[in-house]
Symmetry: D2
Subunit: 269 residues, 4 copies
Amino acid sequence: MHDVQSSPDTRGIDIQRVGLKDVRLPFLIRTMDGDYQQVLGKVTVAAELPKEYRGTHMSRFMEVLLAWSRKPIAGTELRLILREIVEKLAAPAAEISLSFRYFLAKTAPVTKSLSYLDYLVETSGRLDDGRFDYLLGVEIPVLTLCPCSKEIAACGAHNQRAAIRARVRFRPGCFLWIEELVALLERQGSAPIYPLLKREDEKFITEEAYRRPKFVEDVVRDAVLALRAEPRIRWFAVECESYESIHNHNAFAAHEESHASPGPVKNCP
Amino acid sequence: MHDVQSSPDTRGIDIQRVGLKDVRLPFLIRTMDGDYQQVLGKVTVAAELPKEYRGTHMSRFMEVLLAWSRKPIAGTELRLILREIVEKLAAPAAEISLSFRYFLAKTAPVTKSLSYLDYLVETSGRLDDGRFDYLLGVEIPVLTLCPCSKEIAACGAHNQRAAIRARVRFRPGCFLWIEELVALLERQGSAPIYPLLKREDEKFITEEAYRRPKFVEDVVRDAVLALRAEPRIRWFAVECESYESIHNHNAFAAHEESHASPGPVKNCP
Amino acid sequence: MHDVQSSPDTRGIDIQRVGLKDVRLPFLIRTMDGDYQQVLGKVTVAAELPKEYRGTHMSRFMEVLLAWSRKPIAGTELRLILREIVEKLAAPAAEISLSFRYFLAKTAPVTKSLSYLDYLVETSGRLDDGRFDYLLGVEIPVLTLCPCSKEIAACGAHNQRAAIRARVRFRPGCFLWIEELVALLERQGSAPIYPLLKREDEKFITEEAYRRPKFVEDVVRDAVLALRAEPRIRWFAVECESYESIHNHNAFAAHEESHASPGPVKNCP
Amino acid sequence: MHDVQSSPDTRGIDIQRVGLKDVRLPFLIRTMDGDYQQVLGKVTVAAELPKEYRGTHMSRFMEVLLAWSRKPIAGTELRLILREIVEKLAAPAAEISLSFRYFLAKTAPVTKSLSYLDYLVETSGRLDDGRFDYLLGVEIPVLTLCPCSKEIAACGAHNQRAAIRARVRFRPGCFLWIEELVALLERQGSAPIYPLLKREDEKFITEEAYRRPKFVEDVVRDAVLALRAEPRIRWFAVECESYESIHNHNAFAAHEESHASPGPVKNCP
């Protein structure tokens, strides 16, 4: 049967990315406590296509993904997936993005009621001529309370659901668990949020948010300071988007930067 | 050229709805002040298909919609659109739903700054054997402030963006403008929202919301009372969904009911 | 601490539905082979609120859901969840909808390559004064090839991704597994689809679709015949929506009906 | 009344972007024929916030946008909007993105039936220290027919809806109208699509697509050649995503490149 994809191409164009989008598969994500969590993954995967070939073999991406669907993975395994793709497709470079909802246990502040909150996570990697670039991204729902509204109003202050989003690159040999990155950023809003709160907890969260009013600008600046203080991170992009309760549009602040190595890092080889 | 759609069908099934979804076209919506507003419409349109025919002629729906895309419309015109469809397709019954974002001028409470807020509107109709059933639906963004949080906290109270959604049927010969239905419901939240607020306005809204704490249950009950008091309405379904700022799920309350005619209605023939 | 929700209400309105939307939690769904599958669930849950009370206790819904998040469930368990809610909230009636992506193994038609396709599933139930109403809904991606295009074109025929959606109610004591309902409907398109196809399989599917051209009307009528022939089903609503490749809108057909009992049903008590 | 936003900040962080997301307003877009088209715009707008200030004045973005909502705009006006923002907020830099559905008349290939197809358009700009960077982006729905499927199948070939997306930067003093960029790219699929087709047109499109089978790789390479041949463009990113009818995931190819000036360009100053 004729292999149309492998027929020669005369247009002379190396295409930078050819692959699949919106592949949904279950994946097993390694957790900080040494176990793993099954998630519903959404994958974009692509490889560079040399100018000699008319098309890539799309089904090979799927074969690689299916095999990895049932093995625990983290950043290291993303590199292995990309190595397989590069080999199977004889491609100079390949990329993958895997996004999913990841659940973490949350303990209510007063009653200690246990529930599970889902965070959007995106792990992505690129393997180019043997060099691996890896990014970890998280989205964390928080509450923000407006400092201006608190200051000028006789009572109360408008507050709302907001999202802190961050993507980070690690120093060589280092990494943070999703759990660690979430913990670093979750405290930067006016208050964290929880799926299950009893009255005593609701009182606590309401008062905590009122004590810690924050603009999106404050959330981002505090997050920048926290990310700079983490020596395992060498680049980050961070954003806070606030679903303003007094408007039907959103306010946001966003910032990215690299930070130079502070010297040897504890716990990184 | 063979008309496959008109070929006979032996399965003996009258299909209740055959048509188009996700048709996007500009439409001109009649406004309360006698003018019209151009909107980006999204249309679902369908007709009953008698068992004798294998298929409907989908392009005829499009021809009807295209012709109506540039003429001012309201509920009355929806009936005319359906009459054309029923005739063009020799169908016993037809339905249409047209949804769009509709802008209304909003004046900030203190500085009187002018801005424009968009409301989701859905108008839908069914023409069945000459009988026309019409529904008007709106979605109104408001602010809700939690009565429980206010009561138990030493200071502040969690609040958030919420949506009031209502669909209504009118008494024969009566109708409400979108503007009227929005005005009736917008005041049922803890406070209305605005695209443009200066500091004096923000103070006013913050304090108003704090003075009028409402659960989703309160919003729905107050909306029910307001809808019952409007004699031009003979059926309604109303919902309030609150994007809780202390959780990442939503709270909602929903209710529907018919109400019997209160006798002759002023302003309706 | 004051229980604001339990304070008396004077508006005299029983609210039909009060509860939570967009709750995301993992759930374990019973599979036809006696095992279970972990899914990412999205839940809407609500209860009737008697007119005596100002508000419901939203956290109790969450407590019930959290407890059921790790126990294998199917229709029977939905009834138990609702019974708990009715008791915990002293509510006359309660409703739940649980939707998720459910994976089934797919074997490519020629090479027998194994992959996993996800289907959108929605299970929902209502418990009202002890009476339980249960619905199972599925959405199945298929391929449809246009009979008109095939007939009139010298070569080829336009085809596209389509979705078959069905919701069913069972006769008392009967039920179908998700696997059975999918199998019943998946064959009603021009061809089924697969995440992994090799060239031999692609040839097979292309030719199968060309041999079996179907309008959305054909898909729905064939699905109606199949659903009528299944004695365990007493009511169904079925729809086919085709993402037309020659347009940027969709074509659809939809139909619902009850069918009277055909007498005792094999395999139902 | 205290201006909390203007209070000094000690964290020493210039934030790169602070502003609004998801602002919806009507806008008037200049058309190639000298007129304008009213669209429903969605705006993201932001400015750099110097480290001296705690917060930006969000309402000023809104005031600028409201004033521009009713004046015809194209790329040149985006620069004026940004200049106003930079001045009103005393910001070193500002950015805007305005996206909307833009309708173009489509004439069916045989019957010449007239209809209107909507294209997603995103215009965006950045003004930084007086330097203006402008991008025009479009998304064009087309039909792609698989060359492999055509080659190996005895009859027919799978085909589907696909999207061609491109973003371009112009050479100084040059620009393309949305209409020109759409025309350049729309012909790169297997066939264009139309909202309204009669049987004769459907035959034509079906056969045209069968004559011009294209992988996503082919669409992208042909688009690259067309974009390179347009001297007014100095940078582009182009992508084709195909909603595969035999799978429930998508295939895509993407490529970006700058191209050096080919010397003086006709029609550009």
